[in-house]
Symmetry: C2
Subunit: 335 residues, 2 copies
């Protein structure tokens, strides 16, 4: 049962209206982020600050603040939960970079390159602990339920991804299960926070579904951009995923559609991890010529449309349109 | 304000009475541990089972079950919280072994030696997420408060330990802050769970203090046993801490009390990480001859006494004596 597309909110391509709309609350979130990452163990604020100040767009916390505002919430739980969301995201990035052996994050050296893998693991744990403390301080068992499930789902998705790493036979279902868990689950928790805090539980399923579909669109778009992105804007380079042996949807589709030579190329790059100079341009040609990139783009737009339909089930108002901009922003990153 | 020592419960040297007393509940904990570590991602139950079935004594969950029984709790929250405690402990071990680059754990290869560091990090995260889900299921915000604080404290202690690693100048205060956070905080949460669940909040400070002092005694004794333990019983070898460059209390005391040659020896082993054949026996001689080991033992007994005094503030009953056995058990491991 989806609402007709005609009722879906329209979405502009940028999130400036959302940023302005929650600017005061977002300042409080930024203050709380620094406060709770404080410790007399100097490595903790140093690592937290490195990541948190490195120009992330704060999309997840803005979604929590925006959906709380959409349902007229007036307490301070939105600021705490938005901070918890950003900590959970940051903790995931820290552990992700260790697991992926990534050198860069948002255009800067990954924390592990400066402070080491050990500190990255432990500071990630610390931020996760702080996230739970903040959630407990809000005092909503419903919010705690949603976020603790998200935490377990995210890490289960990460293990699933690791178990299927460097393996082209895992297929699309595996890929979708991974991004549903590791990306969409936190978006869903972030957007469910609004109706939960405001006591508008009847809207929780629609808002949770909105966040989930938005998260799936975001991740698919990220994976498309790895083959066509502007390195400066993303803080990463075209082909990073390929170099890390990640079988993202464009790769899986190109592999399935390719001829024997194509398949041998992907197997060498992804399964044997043997990526040479010139392989990234070849990969870009293959994901384009097989239509894999177009298909991945089409699916990303499909999830974005579903997100807008989910959102159309919330009461129509100016704030709803502003939240819809996040969907437009995600899609606008596609060429 | 401490109760006179004469009123402290007596403590036998083994925990068989506690095991028997909570046997039914502990079976439920064991079942729940396996159930919530289940996943269709095969690596998760494999790693969890490897650690959880490897002969840990379940002391922390038994303390939660025992203290719940002490205050007459009759629901099923004790089983859920005891399971959460064991998951938190297991997650810490997984991450610890990655950080310490340990090869062995409880006499078996560490999980990271079989499944790798990456899986150990991520499965630790998963178990922590499951722990929070179980706590949320109990529905006690007070319990959630205690356990989320413990989680943040534990990881802060781990980062503190890492920041002071391979450094003999950190001193005793640093060592005590580390073990207070990384070991005592979880014992304190485990023993606070009883009065919290039973609604006997007036007893929470005494029981929390009991757990904390018991945890400090346990860790000090562990660190003493690294220089004199029975490798089979501990599942580790004499000198493991030395080989990992850990400046435990016996080392810090022996360093402070040693002559120039002693200090050069400790600096080579701990600060430069250069441990050669024959160094472990030399270290054992030095911690003995300087009285460092005796002093560490004395302090461990001091914390054990304080734990018994804390416990004496709970209502006198058979169950209180049985819980006191855990203190006796800890001390009995000292030669």
């Amino acid at each position: 049962m989806t609402a007709p597309a005609a009722t879906a909110p329209s979405a502009s391509g940028d999130i400036d209206r959302l940023s302005s709309s929650v600017a005061d609350r977002l300042s409080e979130v930024n203050a709380l982020i620094l406060e709770h990452a404080g410790s007399d163990v100097a490595m903790i604020p140093a690592i937290a600050d490195h990541l948190i100040s490195s120009g992330g767009k704060r999309i997840r916390p803005m979604l929590t603040l925006g959906t709380a505002k959409l349902f007229g919430y007036e307490g301070d739980g939105d600021v705490k939960l938005a901070t918890a969301v950003e900590y959970m995201h940051t903790a995931t990035l820290l552990h992700d970079d260790v697991v992926d052996e990534s050198a860069m994050r948002r255009g800067r050296p990954a924390a592990r390159m400066i402070w080491g893998n050990q500190a990255s693991v432990l500071v990630g744990d610390f931020l996760l602990g702080q996230a739970f403390k903040l959630m407990v301080a809000v005092g909503s068992l419903e919010a705690l339920d949603v976020f603790s499930r998200a935490a377990a789902t995210i890490s289960e998705g990460e293990v699933r991804q690791l178990a299927g790493a460097k393996n082209l036979s895992v297929g699309e279902a595996h890929y979708m299960a991974v991004i549903d868990a590791k990306t969409a689950a936190l978006f869903a928790a972030a957007t469910a926070a609004g109706p939960i805090l405001a006591g508008a539980s009847a809207y929780r399923p629609s808002l949770e579904s909105f966040g989930r579909h938005l998260g799936l669109a975001f991740q698919l778009i990220d994976d498309v951009l790895d083959f066509e992105g502007d390195a400066g804007a993303l803080g990463k380079n075209v082909g990073d995923d390929l170099r890390e042996g990640k079988a993202t949807l464009p790769v899986l589709l190109a592999y399935a559609r390719g001829d024997a030579a194509d398949r041998a190329f992907w197997e060498r790059c992804i399964e044997r991890g043997d990526v040479e100079d010139g392989d990234v341009p070849t990969a870009v040609v293959l994901v384009r010529s097989t239509g894999a990139l177009d298909e991945a783009r089409r699916r990303a737009r499909g999830f974005a449309d579903r997100a807008l339909q989910d959102l159309s089930r919330a009461p129509a108002c100016h704030m709803r349109d502003i939240i819809a901009d996040v969907v437009g922003f995600a899609v606008s990153r596609l060429h």
